[in-house]
Symmetry: C2
Subunit: 203 residues, 2 copies
């Protein structure tokens, strides 16, 4: 089957446990990579360049963006954030599946530039359960929880535009479903046209 | 996730080992069903009505076809063969995945009537290997093998119109890939619009 890796746009509201699913996936499959964002904000204590973020200057960021080297970008609190294409392309050409943990709007920008990307949305079992998870973190006040729930509702309404949805009820089940999706996408005939040609041409 | 089963159009040239993959799937997953064709030819000794075929009269066949109760049909050596929709629909509504082992043209007829069907093509690792498998059966002469290979070549050229291709190199691997495809298709957002609505409407 195909030798190139997959690019996976991985979205879902805050509190769905997307990060936990991702961690478990990375543990189970050593060939999966998590894309690293670039930012112009200064590193916080303990943050490592190339692991937490690529820390770059404003000039470099804008130059990369202008030359199309960013798959998506956004400004937040006066700092730029974006997804550099080159490291992703390198991993994919090595056959690794690259996950992009990204919110809905950024995901849409990437999908436009990379129509071959697989889009996957992690859903909470219910909004009640999402609220419960957000509150049980204990770090956020009532106003923040309500705001997050409203954002979640808007994001979930966009899930229908994704290729796949996975309900994170039990992390193990969700991970199994994501791995099934990766396996299936590798079998898509549109990703295997060269293989079909090779079989037909061989005499 | 979705409660209805999937309809799977399962094709591949003679000698690819499609039947072996199917048998192993049926053994591993008790919720999978294999569609039974209807035919107007008389039963052969040992054949069981409703298991090998639905044996029906010419009049009944033509009436079913006329009223749209056949998903596809063909005439072969003066007998009619076809796929009745009703038993498939019953299984699917019970949540069972139904496989239709069918050649390329019949598969295309079904896909037109049931655009929600998943189409899956089993490929041989190579034409050399396919020839080897056909010859090692020892039941067919050189002319038959050559004719089958020519048919296989034409069928493989149609594989690109299928959703998925699975290379049957090792049966166990092929089965694992098919099961990954079933799992992934159940996660397709277009099959889960009601689930998304349910999450959004719940207060």
């Amino acid at each position: 089957m195909m030798n190139r890796g997959l690019l996976v746009i991985f979205s879902g509201p805050s509190g769905t446990g997307k990060g936990t699913v991702m961690k478990s996936l990375l543990n189970q499959d050593r060939d999966i990579r998590l894309s690293v964002s670039a930012t112009t904000r200064p590193p916080r204590p303990g943050e490592i360049d190339g692991k937490d973020y690529y820390f770059i200057t404003r000039e470099k960021f804008l130059a990369m963006k202008a030359s199309g080297e960013m798959l998506e970008s956004a400004e937040y609190c006066g700092n730029f954030y974006g997804t550099p294409a080159a490291p992703i392309e390198k991993w994919i050409s090595e056959g690794r599946d690259v996950f992009l943990e990204i919110e809905v709007q950024g995901g849409a920008q990437v999908k436009e530039k990379r129509p071959d990307a697989v889009t996957l949305f992690v859903l909470p079992p219910s909004l009640d359960e999402l609220e419960h998870r957000l509150r049980s973190r204990g770090t956020e006040g009532n106003v923040t929880v309500c705001r997050r729930l409203e954002v979640a509702r808007r994001e979930i309404a966009e899930a229908k535009h994704y290729d796949y949805v996975v309900v994170n009820n039990q992390v193990g089940d969700a991970v199994k479903q994501v791995r099934g999706i990766l396996s299936a996408e590798r079998c898509r005939s549109c990703r295997n046209t060269q293989l079909i040609e090779r079989i037909l041409k061989h005499d």
